[in-house]
Amino acid sequence: MASSIRVRAILNGETTEVQTLIQHPMDSGFIKDDKGAFIPAHFIKELTFEHNGRPVFIADWGTAVSKDPYVKFAFKGANKGDELKVSWIDNKGETDTATFKIQ
């Protein structure tokens, strides 16, 4: 599976509930490996969700977000079948993006 992003976006009445799980180590930079060296910080800094080109949710994350991060939110104004564009960028500048259909 190429993308690191998993999303479930389900329309419930007017509200679209969005759950996301992203495959990412989210290393804080405070943890040592078994040889005692610090594992360098490697975490997602910004995660954005866009619907019809408009941001509906922006997450700015620090070093305290769990590995394989998960976030759930809900927004109004979308219809079944609309597209939700999800993209993230981490502190190393790596990025990933994917679009999902609202169920």
Partner: protein
């Protein structure tokens, strides 16, 4: 460090020892007694819920688990497992060709006793044997690929009750007994057996962790542990438990571990497969 060493030792001794029994090997009677012990110890836990380990005994932890289950951390391993399972070997064969029902919905029958080789075949061993018979190298029993493969196979059996068979073969009975002996034998510098924690103290806390009851303890494997930040196979779980009591672990899928899995799965017959699971 000293403090909990003493409290744990006192805890272990304070519990009265269950009575003796005749020396004949009677798995069916053991399984009944095993189940009754836990059902009486935790009367308000539904039988099937024992397959959810500590979450059947602690409400605060159960809520955290249910939140994780909405989008579980083992999701990626599950998808990788599905891909790996479908990938053909160099000779064109697949894992599916090595298993009954193409490997779908069969996890609850493992470990099974192979009368040809007289050995207990666990799911993990069966996967590697399948690779070797098809000219591939065996993979690590504690690695992510094995966890992904067993996660996928467990998932296809979700909800199906454990159905472990002990054929009327003295070697099978001996393997079962060997597993039972290992389960109850104290080991490691802490001088604990599996039973010290999982029979005498389930529901108690080891600092943040709530000890799971031994009944249904393997049903959720392989598990994604927050502690490991990743997946863990049965082999990884046994090895890490040995290390926790300061015993030197045996090599993964050693005969003792396979027999232990045979015993523990048999006495959990009837409880549903809930793997892959997520645990603290």
């Amino acid at each position: 460090m000293r403090f909990w060493l003493i409290t744990l030792a006192v805890l272990a001794l304070s519990v009265a020892h269950p009575a003796h029994a005749a020396d004949g090997i009677d798995p069916a009677a053991d399984a009944r007694a095993f189940r009754n012990y836990f059902v009486e110890k935790f009367p308000n836990v539904k039988l099937d819920d024992f397959a959810n380990g500590p979450y059947s005994l602690n409400e605060d932890m159960r809520r955290q688990w249910e939140e994780k289950e909405q989008f579980p951390p083992y999701e990626f391993s599950l998808e990788t497992g599905k891909e790996l399972f479908a990938k053909p070997f160099a000779n064109g064969k697949h894992y599916a060709d090595c298993f009954p029902e193409q490997g779908i919905g069969v996890r609850q029958n493992y470990p099974r006793f192979d009368e040809k080789t007289g050995q207990v075949i666990t799911l993990e061993l069966a996967l590697n044997l399948c690779r070797e018979t098809n000219g591939e190298k065996a993979i690590s029993y504690t690695g992510d690929d094995m966890a992904a493969l067993t996660a996928y196979m467990a998932f296809t059996s979700r909800g199906k009750p454990f159905d472990i068979k002990i054929p009327n073969d003295p070697r099978a009975l001996e393997a079962y007994e060997n597993g039972k002996r290992y389960f109850y034998t104290r080991r490691g510098q802490l001088n604990f057996s599996c039973a010290t924690c999982h029979v005498q103290n389930p529901g108690e806390r080891l600092r943040a962790e709530v000890l799971a009851p031994a009944l249904g303890i393997l049903n959720a494997l392989p598990i994604y542990r927050s502690e490991w930040g990743g997946m863990g196979t049965t082999s990884r779980r046994f090895v890490s438990c040995n290390s926790q009591v300061r015993g030197v672990p045996l090599e993964p899928q050693a005969e003792e571990y396979r027999d232990l899995e045979y015993f523990l799965s048999y006495v959990s017959n009837g409880l549903p497969i809930s793997g892959p699971g997520s645990r603290p």
